[in-house]
């Protein structure tokens, strides 16, 4: 046994025990307090939200099926029209998807540039890294709706304001994610290219992009998914596409609930479709890399 406990115990077991007990007490206190604060925040928060809402939670919860019930029953009655309505609103859906696609492409390009400019070891102007970081922080922080509404004021309604708004936000968000990826990129190839006299652009395009492309694409796909939702929401506040149609159909109320249902089916299946496709493809990309 002696050889086992070499190096042990200048400290007696008793002191260790009491020190550990003290630590346990402290930890219990802290976790207890954290839990308490969290519970209090949740309960109080819920209470405030409940009191500031027109309808209370407990009254409303019973009613929760009323609206979908109305929509569904009317849609069911007129189910024969649904295919025609789906076809009617398909172009609006395409517009929504287009907004998402274009803004993802533009945003991803912006994100690549921002990330390369704000990653240590890669940046062309290392002194300006904080600047580009702040720029992407701010672009990320602005909710799309803000830019969209301002642009609608200047450019008029339609897909372009939404596209620009989403693209700006996407560039900021992807800029951050991308730079996390490129931070982990291997700098050896970059140095190798530098030693041949390659320019900064060549170093980035040939040395960094091939390494990080799978991750970039994977993040961009995720973003595309998110952007479809965003573009639908922006439509709801006036930027065209399926969101605009949905808002009108819902506002009209009974008589047009079949349209609402048709749009809902379109939107829902689109979101689910792209969600599934992209998550499958993303898994493949990142797995392929792990090998």
């Amino acid at each position: 046994m002696a050889d086992v406990s070499i190096g042990s115990a200048p400290q007696s077991v008793n002191t260790i025990q009491s020190e550990y007990m003290a630590q346990v007490q402290r930890r219990r206190l802290y976790s207890g307090l954290t839990l308490l604060i969290f519970v209090v925040l949740m309960v109080a928060g819920f209470d405030i939200a409940d009191s500031r809402n027109a309808g209370g939670f407990w009254d409303g919860i019973a009613n929760i099926g009323a609206y979908p019930g109305d929509v569904l029953s009317e849609a069911w009655e007129k189910r024969a029209d649904l295919p025609a309505l789906i076809a009617k609103y398909f172009p609006a859906l395409i517009e929504t998807i287009n907004i998402a696609a274009v803004s993802t492409i533009i945003g991803a390009c912006g994100g690549v540039v921002l990330s390369l400019l704000s990653t240590r070891g890669l940046a062309k102007w290392p002194r300006l890294i904080p600047l580009f970081r702040r720029i992407s922080d701010i672009m990320r922080a602005v909710p799309e709706i803000v830019i969209a509404l301002v642009l609608i004021f200047v450019l008029g309604g339609g897909p372009v304001p939404a596209m620009i708004a989403i693209a700006i936000h996407t560039a900021g968000a992807l800029g951050k994610l991308f730079s996390e990826v490129s931070e982990n990129a291997d700098l050896k190839p970059v140095e190798g290219l530098a030693s041949t006299g390659a320019s900064w652009l060549q170093r980035m395009l040939l040395g960094v992009i091939p390494q990080v492309a799978p991750n970039y694409v994977s993040y961009a796909l995720l973003r595309f998914e998110i952007n479809i939702r965003a573009s639908a929401i922006l439509g709801f506040v006036g930027a065209g596409g399926i969101g605009y149609e949905l808002r009108n159909a819902m506002a009209w109320g009974p008589g047009r609930f079949d349209e609402a249902a048709a749009i809902f089916i379109l939107l829902f299946s689109t979101i689910v479709f792209f969600d599934q496709v992209s998550s499958r493809y993303r898994n493949r990309l990142t797995e392929g890399q792990a090998q």
Partner: protein, 266 residues
């Protein structure tokens, strides 16, 4: 005391353990050897009831362990501690909490959910750690410890269970020779001082010879050797490992020669 009778485990076509039968009369330190895939781990897992036997029985002090269900099964597990090759600790929790997991079966679910263990248990856990020479590590996270220290924490957890049997599945395979020695010595001490039965799967012949009272050899799921370390000749070892005449014992040894040279086999 412990009787294993025709214990069999099948994975589909594959027979991992094939009618293993042996009897242990009194607390003994047993080493199970055999090459990779021989069924050692599977056997131990059936003893602890981590997995169910396909056929056969395990009887301990007259109680049919294989038939236990639910709470009774968990109670058996608490009496039959298990130590793993990869330690299987909760790395993000501190050492003492890990040791206290040995008491889970005895304590109410609600209290443990909030990490509320009795003070006596906590003190006992630290005493056990002290016995294993790692009391100073008590407040650290398990992941911050070296492999040898982690394995000793696992042993402490096992001791905390106050078990009749300690099962150890290749307890030293992930350790360097120095730590391996410390861990094996701890197990031996526990066996000798507390009189607990210890069954350890071992990759290496020399360890088995040195620390165990009895060695069981397995090959392709079957028990092909059962005897004292003295009876484990190179010929017997060749049978167990299914090796040809070129078999050299060193191939299964992981001990540093210098350590070996200064000690005698048990």
């Amino acid at each position: 005391m412990l009787e294993i009778s025709k214990l069999t485990k099948r994975f589909g076509e594959n027979v991992a353990v094939d009618a293993a039968t042996f009897f242990v009369e009194q607390p003994t330190m047993i080493g199970i050897i055999g090459r990779s895939g021989a069924g050692k781990s599977t056997l131990l897992r059936m003893l602890n009831r981590l997995s169910d036997a396909t056929e056969g029985t395990v009887t301990f002090d007259g109680e049919d362990v294989t038939a236990l269900k639910g709470a009774a099964r968990r109670n058996w597990q608490s009496r039959c501690a298990m130590i793993f090759q990869q330690f299987n600790l909760v790395p993000r929790m501190d050492v003492v909490s890990n040791v206290l997991h040995g008491t889970l079966n005895r304590r109410s679910t609600l209290a443990t959910m909030f990490n509320l263990y009795p003070q006596a248990d906590i003190h006992k856990a630290i005493e056990i750690l002290d016995r294993l020479g790692i009391a100073e590590q008590a407040p650290k996270r398990a992941e911050a410890l070296s492999g040898g220290q982690q394995q000793r924490v696992a042993i402490a957890r096992a001791l905390m269970q106050d078990p009749k049997i300690i099962l150890a599945d290749e307890p030293i395979a992930s350790l360097d020779p120095m730590n391996a020695q410390v861990v094996m010595q701890s197990l031996r001490d526990i066996h000798e001082q507390d009189g607990r039965m210890v069954i350890a799967n071992l990759h290496t012949l020399d360890t088995a010879r040195r620390y165990c009272d009895r060695v069981i050899g397995m090959r392709d799921g079957r028990i092909v050797f059962d005897g004292t370390p003295q009876q484990l000749t190179t010929g017997a070892a060749r049978d167990i490992y299914g090796a040809g005449a070129d078999f050299s014992e060193a191939a299964t040894s992981t001990e540093i020669e210098t350590l070996d040279r200064s000690k005698e086999y048990v």
